[in-house]
Symmetry: C2
């Protein structure tokens, strides 16, 4: 696959290295040639200096024959314009954009552009580590009707079976014990210090957050 | 709770605003006072100009009475030093650090510091959107023994029940149909265009990646 990545920041360069390692032909476009240092000396792909919203630069970088296009510059607006040009003008099939401002994300998704908002993900994870160290709200599914949580096994659940504790509305997707994770059978008995990965309806969130691992 | 955040970049400022909104007392420390603009005019917390690895600045920012400390500067080394000082010198109970370099993450975790590597998360998500649009590898649990995936329902699974398709080694944690998500009962019948959230042992990953939604 021919992949064109614009923006060679931390995220763009990590992505470029990873995709190239998997045998794809990667071209990276960035206005600042010094950013290409991030790719390392062994990077097998191609680098092109130029602006992501300059058609001449995009064409030199091979946008006309790209199978996939990813916009990861520091500017949300630049990413969205470049992504739209890639899709609408050059007909690139797989297009994704990095977005910093979570408020804009919805607009972009409505334009049909797949977006990734890692700043928000990071801020949310840091917040959870600080505010709720025993419960991590990993993912909201659909419009948030289902939540994926990571929790320390509440004391009230210990010595009970997996099938028993969630009463059928919710599942334990995984269990980590002594540093090893597995998908538990319904008959598995929960133990103190187990880390549980739960999928629950949003309606049960408050109840689960209120459970305490130490009581 | 008293929360001290060092680094007022995109992630630090989003975190500070979110935590302050929840009623906590937040102080943000940054060497560049112009970064405080990111907090917005209505930010109810305190800002202090100074370096995160300068004890005088940290003390002016109230580290001695902080309940939680988050290091989110642009420098991994600065974050790790500041986090260790917060925990070991000032005895702050909840300490987390943002880390850019995923290679260093393991070292930090071994030091007992909770870390968040959103650059890697973002690069991985972008890669998946481009390379495997029908399968998203959401999370690796434990040392990767269990994987959480999002997949489009493979054609071979349609018209079969949830209990049937994974043969007991793995679970369907959630199902999104027509934009609405729910935790499916074992008797639920899968349909074309369902989005499935699976928890599976790593040993089944290749088999699941090979399933195709269109065949």
């Amino acid at each position: 696959m021919n992949v064109l990545i614009v923006g060679c920041g931390r995220e763009g360069s990590e992505l470029a290295r990873s995709i190239a390692r998997q045998g794809h032909a990667v071209t990276v476009l960035d206005a600042d040639a010094s950013h290409f240092d991030r790719l390392g000396l062994d990077f097998p792909g191609r680098t092109v200096q130029g602006f992501s919203i300059d058609r001449v630069a995009l064409e030199r970088a091979g946008i006309a024959t790209a199978d996939a296009f990813v916009a990861t510059t520091q500017s949300d607006n630049e990413n969205i314009i470049a992504a739209k040009v890639a899709r609408d003008v050059y007909g690139v099939k797989r297009v994704a954009a990095r977005v910093y401002n979570p408020g804009r994300r919805e607009v972009y998704e409505r334009l049909g552009l797949a977006t990734v908002t890692s700043t928000s993900w990071g801020a949310r994870r840091l917040e959870q580590l600080i505010l709720h160290p025993h419960v991590i709200d990993m993912e909201q599914i659909g419009q948030g009707e289902v939540r994926l949580l990571r929790i320390q096994a509440p004391a009230a659940w210990c010595n009970r079976s997996v099938a028993e504790v969630l009463d059928g509305s919710g599942v334990i997707c995984a269990l980590a014990r002594n540093g090893k994770a597995f998908v538990p059978a319904p008959t598995e008995t929960l133990q103190k210090d187990d880390l549980l990965y739960l999928s629950i309806p949003n309606s049960r969130l408050a109840e689960i957050l209120a459970l305490n691992p130490n009581e």
